[in-house]
Symmetry: C2
Subunit: 227 residues, 2 copies
Amino acid sequence: LIRTERITKVYRTGAVEVGALCGVSLEIREGEYVGLMGPSGSGKSTLMHLLGCLDTPTGGRYWLGGRDVTTLDDIELARLRNREIGFVFQNFNLLPRLSAGANVQLPMVYAGIKPRDRPRRARELLEMVGLGGRVHHRSNELSGGEMQRVALARALANEPSIILADEPTGNLDTRTSEEIMSLFDRLADQGNTIIVVTHDPEVSAHVRRVIRLRDGQVESQTAGSPA
Amino acid sequence: LIRTERITKVYRTGAVEVGALCGVSLEIREGEYVGLMGPSGSGKSTLMHLLGCLDTPTGGRYWLGGRDVTTLDDIELARLRNREIGFVFQNFNLLPRLSAGANVQLPMVYAGIKPRDRPRRARELLEMVGLGGRVHHRSNELSGGEMQRVALARALANEPSIILADEPTGNLDTRTSEEIMSLFDRLADQGNTIIVVTHDPEVSAHVRRVIRLRDGQVESQTAGSPA
Ligand SMILES: Nc1ncnc2c1ncn2[C@@H]1O[C@H](COP(=O)(O)OP(=O)(O)OP(=O)(O)O)[C@@H](O)[C@H]1O
Ligand SMILES: Nc1ncnc2c1ncn2[C@@H]1O[C@H](COP(=O)(O)OP(=O)(O)OP(=O)(O)O)[C@@H](O)[C@H]1O
Ligand SMILES: [Mg+2]
Ligand SMILES: [Mg+2]
């Protein structure tokens, strides 16, 4: 489903060049439940943005569902992102002045879901992440962990078959974190493809395969939870 | 040093009122090394903002250094925050277009540190958190864990005697997280007063006392690391 061949990403900022990813080749089959780990600054978010078609690589190839994404035009890319991929951002990326419910409905608007169906679906998704009581709260009036869960609910708005979650439990206490991971476990059991960035061993214990990055390269790949 | 008596905080958003803190009384002596834990939404960040004089309680009393903070005017409060308290925000709160070094220098400007001394001090603080190579990078060009560490370096800019850190390791891998906690350990050994919000038992294992919140109230207080 997801195949990359030596993808690289270099950020140019002013006179400085930062090699965030240096030749990453990996293959993730449909329905796999993968953890992505590695030190701070090793390139996890960069890789996730490339896999989620939110950014383009500086070099290398990326095939999604057998199609080379560089051959897709902007409209096809946007449609793919909106219908097939759910992305949970490390910094949540919510619209601060919109309510939690409105944030979750936003992807549904672009997917053409009927207006009368959206509020109920948004409420159900927020209840699934434990925020049924916060539907009408503005996202800038929520706690860190609450915003993080709204970002997850929004990522699931269009029932994507590929879920990319960048540190979905970083701001959550142990019990809430377990509730979120059992939600991911259910989504994995339903046959969805899931990639979770984490540095928490309790989170990576749920996945079936771990890819470890270091300095922009794949350092190791293991099946199941890491030692 | 820090004493609160039944402080409460109610957020009014539109027609809804959210009781974030409901009567919290606690005492923290100079040089104590305290962990603040509790579920997502239990009021940890709210309490930290009140203790850091970044917000005012809806009710109750708060004495800092023996002075009732409600008697201080805005100028005295700003001076206290800038000179005595270092605050690490859960959402980093960096100026995105400024470099890491410029962000760390900002509190020094308000404290009247000479311009020629600021760059070296900022560099030293960034090196202390492992970011010596990122001094001139804009903070919106950094990874999540890198931004978090710039926020910590900035909080230490004026060598505050009280350090309030809201989830300082949420975005860090285990090894970087340990480096940051050994920095906090050193600051504690030097006699600074430290309060760290965390939900990570490996972080709370470093502190000498844990205060647990639930639904806006103190649920328990223990000495040393929690079970
Ligand atoms: N600006 C605000 N306006 C309205 N309600 C708020 C605001 N900030 C926080 N709240 C609410 O107050 C409660 C406590 O929030 P707080 O941020 O203190 O929790 P927290 O313990 O830090 O949570 P987390 O671990 O998720 O960061 C939450 O339920 C939240 O919805
Ligand atoms: N927009 C950007 N411009 C320039 N450099 C960037 C940008 N985003 C990230 N970087 C750099 O690229 C490297 C990889 O960043 P990335 O965000 O992928 O790391 P990460 O593994 O997600 O880290 P963390 O665990 O701290 O979130 C970092 O060293 C960072 O400084
Ligand atoms: Mg990241
Ligand atoms: Mg918080």
